[in-house]
Subunit: 299 residues, 2 copies
């Protein structure tokens, strides 16, 4: 079943202890799409500037990613620059030029409106809400957000939270959102506010899936050479949602497996800059690493 | 098979956001013993002062812990005072009075010398080395240490590391010891220096077992009410070593299970101050929680 994603498209300039990449394609919508496209067709909504080179993301088309929802506006593409520290968990933002992204108002093409899976990547909650209203009969809606919206636009964000099925967030975000330090207590509280499923990402420490009646923990796949962590969260989400969209039925076990698939795709993504790694691998390599995951957790 | 543990015995004064305990029995050797005693007989070597009340650890005797190796010296017992922050991962040491522990020279009673499992809790590496030399034919030797010895007594510590089979340490310690940030690379380096098995503890994020040809990750059991983290590391070690001492054979799978048993016993320990929780539970409750663990990791 097809997936709709609405989010940012960026040209990233990234410095890590292992190298540098200038103006490489990135952004939440593209990282998500590259990851989800191993599993299901993806419809992307976003905006780019006249400087965006579509050849750089040509590989996505071959993987059944529909890019017709990408609007080209007069001006430059959203640009982000960041530098990662030695531990790869902390980064400094060097610059953020919103450019055409500043006035982004998602327009959902008619043929996207029947997407059954909707991923709301990290954009203003008001825009997320509008997207939700435009989709006729979603089977599963999944929300991402960030501290910026949690602290600055809480009221609007709470309206979105009330309407989604799944929320993917990291440990800091759920603490800030609920004001509760203990992750499990925080999750119990958030589950009262709308979502039926929570996925809490803990970076190199893996992820936890919490629902009313299930609790699943998955470690992160051990990557010896983290080259560039950019897009890890969005490629996690892409693997997670993509896997679910490929399942005949969504149940407890498939939700757990989706977390493992999300972690696995993210583990590939961080092995190189931009989409270099996700471009190079195939579904079989993902499945093989999922089996390594299983073996790594057996006791 | 019986286990020898050499380490500290303390009277701890602990403040956490959930309460306070004054002069409660603690210390690495006792936390280890309380945890290991669910699985195998334990022989303890340590020193206490005249103020130590043996009635407080009477429960250990009933669990087959031999306390005859505890020497009572003139003076006061080692005292430690600490205060945990809201997140329970950070703590301030309020005071440390070594007292009789300052001049501790482990004396191993003759009937302890045939212990097949030897746990060297966190004491000066020179003392750890002496203990090793006094044991006739250990089947498995397990080493714990801390940053204080890594930075201050590296040369002596390296001699101990060269002689042990298993090293249990946390993520910060292995980074400091090897100078390598990535845990997996750090582990590969440390495995060249003596130990065949490394267990790397990551607190609330679980633990990793790394050997030449195995890699196992276990999350931490999710505890909703962490009351007092004191002794978590030593009770982990106790569950780990205790479980192994109860196995007819030590192999890859049993090492993995030992990590899960270690995490499980530690998860009980943090649910109350001092030995309150480990005193109250039985082996069946540990086994039940291990099954919950298994269910929590299934996908």
């Amino acid at each position: 079943m097809s997936i709709l994603v609405v989010g940012s498209i960026a040209l990233d300039t990234v410095e890590t202890p292992n190298g540098k990449a200038d103006n490489s394609p990135g952004g939440s919508a593209l990282y998500f799409s590259a990851a989800a496209s191993f599993f299901a067709p993806v419809n992307v909504v976003g905006v780019v500037g006249e400087d965006f080179n579509f050849r750089d993301i040509e590989f996505l088309k071959k993987r059944n990613v529909d890019l017709n929802g990408l609007v080209v506006e007069k001006g430059e593409t959203f640009r982000w620059g960041g530098r990662y520290h030695q531990n790869m968990n902390e980064r400094d933002t060097l610059f953020t030029y919103l450019n055409v992204f500043e006035t982004f108002r998602p327009h959902i093409p008619d043929n996207y409106k029947e997407s059954r899976f909707v991923f709301l990547a990290n954009i203003a909650p008001e825009l997320q809400l509008n997207v939700l209203k435009g989709i006729s009969s979603p089977l599963l809606t999944i929300l991402d957000t960030m501290n910026f919206w949690i602290s600055g636009r809480r009221e609007a964000l709470e309206k979105v939270i009330k309407r989604v099925d799944v929320m993917i967030l990291n440990d800091e975000e759920i603490r800030e959102l609920t004001g509760v330090h203990n992750i499990n207590r925080a999750a119990a509280q958030l589950l009262q506010q709308g979502p039926r499923v929570l996925v809490i990402k803990k970076g190199e420490h893996g992820a936890v899936l919490i629902t009313e009646d299930d609790y699943f923990v998955a470690p992160a796949f051990p990557v010896s050479d983290v080259i560039d962590p950019t897009g890890a969260g969005d490629s996690f989400a892409g693997g997670f949602v993509g896997y679910l969209a490929s399942c005949p039925e969504i149940n407890k076990l498939e939700l757990r497996r989706a977390v493992v698939y999300g972690s696995t795709v993210a583990s590939f993504n961080v092995e190189s800059f931009s989409f270099n790694r996700l471009k190079a691998i195939d579904k079989q390599q993902i499945d093989d690493r999922v089996e390594q995951f299983r073996e790594m957790m057996r006791f």
